[in-house]
Symmetry: D2
Subunit: 377 residues, 4 copies
């Protein structure tokens, strides 16, 4: 018999939707011991919050997150607000003894992130940062293959996250869905928004990064700001690329941009090991590329693995072989793993502490882009 766990979610944007959908689905597929209940939705706009509650079936509505945190009937606080609010809410939630799921990136910078780690660890509350791509089954399978030693010594890692939605200079910055273009709210541009995903996966799959050298660019220097109504300087990085050396001796290239015409959300990574290589691509997320040098030489080739079988990560919970799942399912897996971590006392990763490592790499990248020299992480 499952025990209920009450969720209070803050933020009615895109991420609020993905998390709400995950809470609604997880029980039907994963039968967790702890069953999430959509208790309260919180947004500064009461109208938005009410509409969101109707859409997703939240039982109640709040407009002040402090009130939400004060409620005794809330077990999990889920932070889906813009980056510049993460620290304050998370610190308060920890102090209130709530479990916390926080959207990525963890914080505006490493200093903030460190405070947050200290807070949740002092409070002893379960905590997770939503780097959801780890839980795409093909990516989880990649982790499994590496951990089994199938790749052998790793020589190379390369990752890109390419988008093309900000190419038009008519696009304004700030407010609503466009806060990602406003450095005061987002902290950085593609580095925190997109590369943070690439870095999280990389650290998970390939261990720690030792040092980086980077460049950033802001192609469109000024945009109208939605809130002030004025044309203002754009302070985010539109594009960022960096070279890296991992502690295991492998070399890496990372790149992200919102000016790669033809790519909507093309997150790809490839890892080359002594014995085998793997490749993955968010645009066909249900597939994993795999090359195994141990195959007979005349029939060696990259395999395109359709990750939909019951013995592949998470897939036994869904449909039948051959039938693909999509983007949203990575969030369902995240909730399932978080709940299992709470139930078993073996916390799911990435915790705040894990996510702080990604934050440190992001900070080193941005510092290198300013200084022009290699920066140790």
């Amino acid at each position: 018999m499952s025990k209920p766990l009450n969720v209070g979610l803050i933020g009615c944007g895109f991420m609020g939707r993905t998390h709400s959908n995950a809470y609604r689905k997880v029980y039907s597929f994963f039968k967790p011991e702890l069953k999430p209940a959509l208790k309260a939705i919180c947004d500064v706009s009461a109208d938005k919050a009410k509409a969101f509650a109707d859409t997703w079936g939240y039982e109640s509505v709040e407009t002040d997150w402090k009130k939400l945190l004060a409620r005794k009937d809330i077990d999990i606080v889920d932070i889906c607000t813009p980056n510049n609010t993460h620290r304050e809410i998370a610190m308060a939630a920890a102090a209130a003894g709530k479990m916390i799921i926080c959207e990525k990136p963890l914080a505006m910078n490493t200093a903030e992130g460190q405070e947050m780690v200290d807070a949740v660890e002092k409070a002893g509350v379960p905590n997770l940062v939503s780097f959801n791509y780890r839980r795409v089954p093909a990516v989880t399978l990649a982790k499994k293959l590496i951990d089994e030693g199938r790749l052998g010594k790793i020589f190379h890692y390369r990752a890109v996250f390419l988008q093309d939605w900000t190419i038009s200079s008519d696009l304004p910055q700030g407010g609503d869905a466009l806060w990602r273009l406003d450095a005061k709210v987002a902290g950085s541009g593609v580095t925190g928004d997109l590369l943070a995903h690439c870095i999280d996966t990389a650290l998970w799959l390939n261990g720690s990064i030792r040092s980086v050298t980077a460049m950033t660019e802001t192609f469109i220097k000024e945009r109208k700001h939605n809130i002030t109504g004025k044309v203002e300087k754009v302070n985010i990085d539109d594009a960022c690329a960096f070279l890296a050396r991992f502690s295991n001796g492998s070399l890496a290239t990372f790149e992200s941009t919102r000016y790669a015409r033809g790519h909507k959300a093309l997150y790809t990574f490839e890892i080359n090991g002594e014995k085998a290589s793997i490749a993955w691509d968010l645009h066909d997320l249900h597939r994993l590329g795999y090359f195994d040098h141990r195959d007979d030489s005349i029939v060696r080739g990259w395999r395109s693995i359709h990750v939909t079988d019951g013995d592949q990560p998470y897939m036994g919970k869904w449909w039948v072989p051959g039938l693909q799942i999509g983007y949203e399912h990575s969030f369902v897996h995240q909730v399932a793993d978080f709940l299992e971590g709470v139930a078993t006392g073996r916390p799911a990763s990435p915790t705040f502490r894990d996510a702080l490592e990604t934050q440190k790499v992001c900070d080193a990248v941005l510092e290198s882009a300013r200084s022009g020299v290699w920066v140790d992480v």
Copy 2:
């Protein structure tokens, strides 16, 4: 303000799951005027039904479908039972004035199907057969492109549905998930199970089929039967291929098998028109292949359209460009369209009458496979 519509679903198998998931999701994404409520689940096994009710949140449980049909609080009867039960349940549901959603294929044969069509039309109840692949966004986009005349005159249609799950002779037939191998329950093998999907899509996209010539094969002649416990003759078609002529003058090849090693559920179709061609593939269902001869000759090529944009069918309701949906979403779209059809009085297709056309083609195919000559549909 949405009005509730109470669902009573019969059958706790794979299709019961896909439909239940769709009812649970449709409101959050499509906000239909009529909002489905999971009122009752019915299965001959009370244990299964109870577990299913817990999993999906059904309010009540029945073990006799006749009782379900007798309930006043049920608006929609959803038939997810094996093929040999469709007719009886659907006839009774129509007589009870219920709206009906029925899994495909409509019936065991055309004669049964005709009775069912007559019954629902006489009763005047909304009815739909669950040929869900029409509502994969890429397939719906294909329909749109054809209807806009982008392909011009059609010359060729080809479709396959390839699986490999019955190659082992150790696999038994009959009972539970394996009723599809038992001709008494399934009616036919791949023809009704898989080719019916291909035919439904083809009739929708390319109009009626005039005549066919076919061959079938049963590769493994005997299998242990799960219910009798004895080795029994296998009476289904393991594989079926046919040639067809459409009324519009185009030629077609269709093939299905469960012995195509390497393909889990590879439903593909391609349509060649005078001006353009399209291709689709269930293993990467979020993409559509498109070739347009009107492109400048030096840059002409097959386009791989990542069908995840807001202006592509259904996709405005989901996430953001670049983030793919999966198999299950086709059922959500089906429910959304059915509900809109009920609300507006413009019924969603395929109705029982539409599905009867597919049944007729299936029957002609099986007859041709027996007789060795061309059979008019």
Copy 3:
């Protein structure tokens, strides 16, 4: 030390070019014991023949093939003329004791083909029909994998050869490059021109075909004839599809058309065996698709084998791994194998006798298309 072998080639069209290129290249890469010398080119047009001799380095020119055959200094007669001339030239060449390479299809029909087989066998001259696709390295590798038993029992074979160059009704028929549209010269349309390739490969890879049922269509009924200048009825098949049963119990579908918009020369085949499957595609001819069910289940997938390694068929003679060859090389391999067959007394396949089997299937296909019933080969 290589011995020279003098080639007399008849026909300055497209195939004359591919064969001439092959003769010029074979020695540098394959070092055959017998080294072909371009002795004479023959064409009814003296101007064409002279220009061709200059282009390719032929030593002499003839305008009457009978004179060519009468020359003592010609060892190999290579027939690259339209189909309706194959029989007469080949019979005479055999009578003159020449080795013969003949373009495909062997003949206008089985009766002609039988005469040709009898003639070359009576004369005891080496003979080969130019079904060049067997000698694309990826296709030869497919043969090797099948012969090694890697696929196990074969269940399915499917092949298509799709083009789109005759869709315009403005295209005339007859004469020069367009004799392929003139049934009097070509014998048939896509059946002899394109399906003959598919059938040859199929017989080689999968054994004999027992019976077929077919349909053909001529989409554009009349075209201007280049020679008569008049609009005339089109008598070739624009498209042809057939179902087949092989002697080994496997089922097959074959299709060819020149009305498949978007495909220039898309010859593909796929073979599904109990243990493994293979797939190939002329548009990327240097790759072979391979799925092996014996791979670990979690990393099973279709492999894309880049057939450019030294241990793959023919490739040790060319460049280095990763560097692809193209269409023309299949003809070089054909000449190399023919020369080796002559030198060793173990004739290269397909001989005229082998090619007669393809002719029989073509005839059965066309007969079935007329009669509407299954025809035994």
Copy 4:
């Protein structure tokens, strides 16, 4: 009527083969006004030279390149020897008034390259460096699309050249085919061997590079040396990656390695412009990826252009649409263009002067890898 032009080629290795094949083929397909004749082959090994002459049809043999240069009957000197010999031979050939084709990279470093440029320009002899990938038709098509303005402003360029042939530590260095691993002979590792190709293409397609930051790695520190027989330090770069800023404001990442398991010779580049993007891949060199944002939004997607049509670069000279060419043909195109440049007085690119720009970037990359800071080119 074509005039003969006598070729003297130095070096019987892999590049000697590709160039010889090109000279033998160019006339049959391109009918240049100047027709190359294979006059002399030169190698320090008389046995190798004789065998090579037999294989390719060279009329004479030399073992001392100075003698070759002294011959009056030699018009073109083609330098296919290891990198450390380019300068001396080229300087002497220029002094002797010969036309020069030189394998890439131009020189061991910029200083050498500058001398060579000065020499050929002073001598006024036609000169070309063999960056053959420019003349793969798909790459030439990319150039044409960019020059037509189809991409608009360029934001991003990324290129990799990935191989996996040196992963085994048993592989020795030095001598024969393995001089590429010996820094004294090769100058550098992947930077000069592979990245030089990427840089040449990039400069041609996207203009000059302003500055770079780089890292290199030698994964296997010692290897047996084939000539000395001793285990010696490996001084080449096994891998090199760099970030770059182009003069046009675009950002770039470049990477090359011989430790990318699964890639034999995967040279890829992608260019993202405001309006369109292009992508190419040496493993399928006959295709070009193209995305055009101006396409109707619902059917927008990456096009896979099969570059085999008569109106695409060079392809009108080869076979018919749909039939691919391969690696070797890029060299045929190079010779054809060189000969046309000589005939018309409009020299084909890249001349020594053009190739010097690539050398400068290579030097800047290696310097940055040593210094750890950005280096201006």
